[in-house]
Symmetry: C2
Subunit: 451 residues, 2 copies
Amino acid sequence: MNEKRYDLESTILSLVESKRYASLRDILTTMNAADIAVLFEELNAEALPLLFRLLPKELAAETFVEMDSDAQQLLITGFSDSELKEVIDELYIDDAVDIVEEMPANVVKRILMQADAETRKQINEILKYPEDSAGSIMTTEFVELRPHFTVADAIKSIRRTGIDKETINTCYITEPDRKLCGQISIRALILADEDERVGDIMNTNVISVSTLTDQETVAQSLQKYDLLSVPVVDGEGRLVGIVTVDDAIDVLQEEATEDIEKMAAITPSDKPYLKTGVLSLYVHRIPWLLLLMISATFTGIIIMNFESALAAQVALTAFIPMLMDTGGNSGSQSSVTVIRGLALQEIRFRDIFRVIWKELRVSLLCGITLAAANFLKLMYLDKVGVQIAFVVCLTLVITVIVAKLIGCTLPMLAKKIGFDPAVMASPFITTLVDAISLFTYFQVATAMLGL
Amino acid sequence: MNEKRYDLESTILSLVESKRYASLRDILTTMNAADIAVLFEELNAEALPLLFRLLPKELAAETFVEMDSDAQQLLITGFSDSELKEVIDELYIDDAVDIVEEMPANVVKRILMQADAETRKQINEILKYPEDSAGSIMTTEFVELRPHFTVADAIKSIRRTGIDKETINTCYITEPDRKLCGQISIRALILADEDERVGDIMNTNVISVSTLTDQETVAQSLQKYDLLSVPVVDGEGRLVGIVTVDDAIDVLQEEATEDIEKMAAITPSDKPYLKTGVLSLYVHRIPWLLLLMISATFTGIIIMNFESALAAQVALTAFIPMLMDTGGNSGSQSSVTVIRGLALQEIRFRDIFRVIWKELRVSLLCGITLAAANFLKLMYLDKVGVQIAFVVCLTLVITVIVAKLIGCTLPMLAKKIGFDPAVMASPFITTLVDAISLFTYFQVATAMLGL
């Protein structure tokens, strides 16, 4: 699919140059909004508004939503008031909110001025909810039915209002006080008898979330229960919006990226890499590097304390990198496994002893295998004395066990006390394991080699 | 929600003990399949079949799908042939295939014997496709319409067959030779005039995938184009199945987990951690630990070669862990960012020079900041000579730059030559960066300190 798009790109650029607008319109209308957006982002500031105006109204709005905020701002600045109004009228509320959140104040003011009163009210309503809450990502355009409706009434009501709703696949049933009392799929409505009452055939066992529920939890319940949308209710159980599955997918992908970034000691950012400035990347990375550098100096202090032992046996120094790396790798294997398990809710805090017991056995197996391989190498390749070989291998087994135990417990404890487990991943554990393994190394060496 | 479930769990267990089956049935029928499955997995082998039989037919099948393969096998073994047939009849084809794939041969045989001829044929058909292909995760139960149908015909056809389809939200239109020619949403059908022809109002610009398309690509196109299902066509463009959004979410989460595992030097496994045996965990982890341990010995060789320099200046040893850790952390920040960017298709190979140029500037900023902080610490806390401080800080800057450049280029090159970029993550880069930074360290030290 990618190949096709890039060929098209050069075709379109040459059509823009030769001003073949009719052909351009024909090509663009056969394309999908997501692909047009990628194409448009590569255009220069002059060609963009020109090509955008070629799109039919609905496709224009869909494309607008898919573009990055820089391109959106460029377009809005170039729009006349009526053009702006046309685009806003076509947007779903949740998309409008996303755009408003990214724009500078003067552009937001223009957008809200062009929106009709009802849209403006709904945008402001959603903007009130805390970032990353269900309220902030929901849409207020959903199909609402009453229990006393017959199936025929319901379908009539959907026909009348459905064009403006983000989805009609699941309809929600509320009491006159707007309290959510059930849901029904469009499939159930179509398969049902025309005279049946919605209240009699609706599903009353509704999974719902509150406006303040964290977006990750919302996305997880959509995944867990295989839903196409989940209703969002306020503190009094009144239906105020829905979160649709397409937004849930984006949330899940975002959260996975955030966890990956945290595990690699980066402060998460929600901008794609290529759109992020050098300074911003620096700011997201340097605090962790500094912090970890400072904690690595503890390892240095341990080495300093054993300076005389090392001077007597410089050969010991040669195995420090191997011990540190193996400890770090063993620890991050365990920590990353546990962190992902916690994120996917496959592991819970109450499982901590099962996890420790499992990691203990795995680390014993790994430690002994690594030590055995290393012992052979030390004796036959490096040809060090059997005593040094023994010191190195004993340290290796202890390091691997300690690393795996720290690696699995630290993220679980972090989660328990309300910290983000992902932050407890490899770099922190590596630093800790480094210090412990070096300390063990020198203790074992002093004892066995009589340094 | 979790809290609620755990309270329920003890209630249910005590009801099982006191054999209050009527109340149990009442409780279970208000619950969701996903929650019942979690509950059932904790039951002992005796209580499970007993409670399972309390579930109404449809809920029983849904719950069965959600359970892990051990519990499924336990149940199947206990089922009579007619009970097994009842469950299989209720399953969607793609779920039946998932179950068949996890079962031992004798159980598979029993399942296929109880399935009706058509189901058996469809299961066998899907089993033929390679693992992780669109064909292997698709379902063959979709709504298929013809272009000459009127909207009224279409809705009548959906009413007649829709009950057995996995989704009716998007209907696919095929020619008599089964070639896919368009799609229409149930919403468009409901909003359209009864007499209009499907062929006139359908969307002919259909995103489709081939049976052999990789499941990650399939899931990404569902996400990119905000689809609820994507049609799967064979080599001749004939519609053979669809992949629905709930399966796409699972694929995306699985792929993220796999990437995270690979980045932490673990061979990916598709079993949840707590269900994976100690030996299996060992087998997934030990090859990488061994490989990385062996490559870490190169770092040891470098140290050995500078043994005499180190013997003269043992203080230099104290900074080895700090240099190695900072190099490793800097490198993995870059590699992990690039690997995730590649996975999300935010970064492409043609961007390689933009990425290198960006990382070069970021690494200069990071390197200088770290070196400055370290210089102050070396001079005022560690009170080492200005020459040693200079050696350490110069090495630090070089290490950070090299680490970030290797970190960003290696995954992109890996992807280009068809390797998995995630495998190129932190551990490999750390080992490489370790060797380079130590080599630099000793070169700089020898030159500046005249060792």
